[in-house]
């Protein structure tokens, strides 16, 4: 089965063709980072305008690179939730028009199921690598991106088999990176710059309190950490020398990484699951990756760190997430709704039941 995936939920216009089990035949991404950089964050209207401009060329390119025509595909998968409503609509409408014209079945995919599927993508035909060892189900998945930070128990790669067992009470981890970068005048997005500066800093030089330290909780909170950095800047001014800036970045990053990893590994222990998968843009963070590898070795956990191109937003993961529903014969043509909320069920904050977002 060959599936065309389309992704426009935030600030990447992406299209990809993926064959059945996850072999990526093409993976095209037009990033809007430069467009939003001047505003210090994603401007929804600008994002929608740019998606409309780039959707068609990106899909064309994805087919051309895969060397396939529409007639050689078996279905189309498009991100329909969660994300910016106006941005999602551009992708779903483009996909809808394509499905109408080609007669191909169409399924709407939850972006977060996409992120959790990304560990299975095999990029070996498009200049990347194949997964060393695909994660076994069930696994604990951490998605940490600019829009989401949650821990999932994944029994199957579908909304029905995936449950959020912990999440952030306020900002997403990537959002905290972006806000702290803004405070420090480091531009947007903040993740890669802070990652780079932190590597040369000393995290112990500046003390910041642990966010959500309660051992038992699988919840995150990053807005307090950001406020601590803001307060530090109020008191000491924006770091005047490079060394202090690096130390501050290192201190902030150490706290974020601590929090993400300790809770993710705690979740694995609590759920008695031996497999952990990281995903989302923040999973590109080098300190997070190296510390996760160390922790996994120490605890005998089987860790999957998808390649960087699989962590940040892409359409290959959307195409792959569409394979199962398409195989089952699902078809959302003429009835595809977009939503700003994820479809993944969530254990409520007090842990007393499950509700759908």
């Amino acid at each position: 089965m060959r599936v065309l995936g389309i992704e426009t939920s935030c600030d990447e216009t992406a299209a990809a063709v993926v064959a059945g089990a996850g072999l990526v035949l093409s993976n095209v991404i037009h990033s809007q980072v430069a467009l939003h950089a001047a505003y210090g964050g994603v401007v929804p209207e600008l994002a929608s305008r740019d998606h409309l401009r780039h959707g068609v060329p990106v899909v064309r390119e994805a087919l051309a690179r895969a060397g396939l025509s529409f007639a050689e595909l078996d279905g189309i998968a498009v991100t329909c939730r969660p994300g910016l409503a106006g941005a999602l609509l551009v992708g779903t409408q483009l996909a809808h028009g394509l499905a109408w014209a080609t007669g191909l079945p169409l399924v709407g995919v939850d972006h977060l199921v996409g992120h959790l599927s990304a560990a299975y993508l095999d990029f070996s035909q498009v200049g990347g690598r194949a997964p060393e060892r695909a994660p076994e189900l069930p696994f604990i998945g951490l998605i940490a991106s600019g829009g989401h930070t949650s821990i999932y128990r994944v029994d199957s790669l579908e909304p029905e088999g995936t449950r959020e067992i912990g999440g952030t009470r306020d900002d997403a981890a990537g959002e905290a990176y972006d806000k702290v970068a803004k405070l420090l005048g480091l531009g947007y997005p903040g993740g890669p710059v802070i990652d780079r500066l932190a590597a040369e800093g000393d995290a112990r030089a500046i003390s910041l309190a642990k966010p959500m330290p309660q051992r038992a909780s699988l919840e995150f909170s990053f807005s307090g950490l950001k406020t601590q950095v803001a307060r530090w800047v109020d008191e000491h001014g924006r770091p005047g020398d490079d060394a202090t800036l690096r130390d501050l970045c290192a201190a902030f990053q150490a706290r974020v990484v601590d929090s993400l990893l300790s809770k993710t590994f705690r979740a694995a222990q609590r759920e008695q699951v031996s497999c952990v998968v990281l995903g989302g843009g923040v999973a590109a963070n080098r300190e997070l990756r190296s510390r996760a590898e160390r922790l996994a070795r120490e605890r005998g956990v089987h860790l999957t760190l998808p390649p960087l191109e699989a962590c940040t937003d892409n359409a290959a993961m959307i195409a792959l997430a569409g394979v199962a529903p398409l195989r089952r014969g699902e078809d959302h043509r003429g009835a595809l709704q977009v939503s700003t909320q994820s479809s993944l069920p969530r254990v409520t904050r007090k842990g007393r039941g499950i509700r759908r977002g």
Partner: protein, 218 residues
Amino acid sequence: MRVLAIETATQLGSVALWESGQLVASAEHQIPNAHGDQLWRLLERCLAEAGWQRGQLDRIGVGLGPGSFTGLRVGIAFAQGIALGLSLPLVGVGSLQALALSLSEHPEVPRAALVDARRGEVFAQLVSAAGEPLAAPLAAPYEGARQRLTELAGTEPLWVGEAASLIGALRAPGRALPHAAEVASLAAQLPAASAVEPQYVRPADAVKPALPSSPLCE
């Protein structure tokens, strides 16, 4: 030539099929915020009514606005998908130019086509009696719009569209809102471009922060 046209710049969403200077089928809805849900149904209905197969189409036309930003993109993205999927040319048509064409009288006077732009403004465009745009579409406050457009036209134009009442002008007989039927007729005549760009007229609301950037972020 068989044309399929889509128009979603305002709350009126419509689809039309056009062949050899004639409207063959059309369908519309006015359910708020539902262009995304309705277009598929309207399209299927039109094709069934005309008895056409999608493979028999020759080009796709779409209204470019101005109008609701999101509404416009819903129609344009859908039309882009159809054109790409069928390898057909996509022709963008100004929605106000299409609205002006709906005028049912034809005196030699310029037309001013109008739609509500919200926030106390109309989107307006002057179009010649022959149907040619005389200027790019603009946004103008209700107050003073009538006088401004009259001055621009050099004479009192014929006011087309229900938004005429918002600026205190007398509406000439024609459509209330842009419709795919006129979009189709224009799309049949206009040259196809390689890409279509909506007529937003207004910029996106976005404010740049004043903070200078650190030299370290280079």
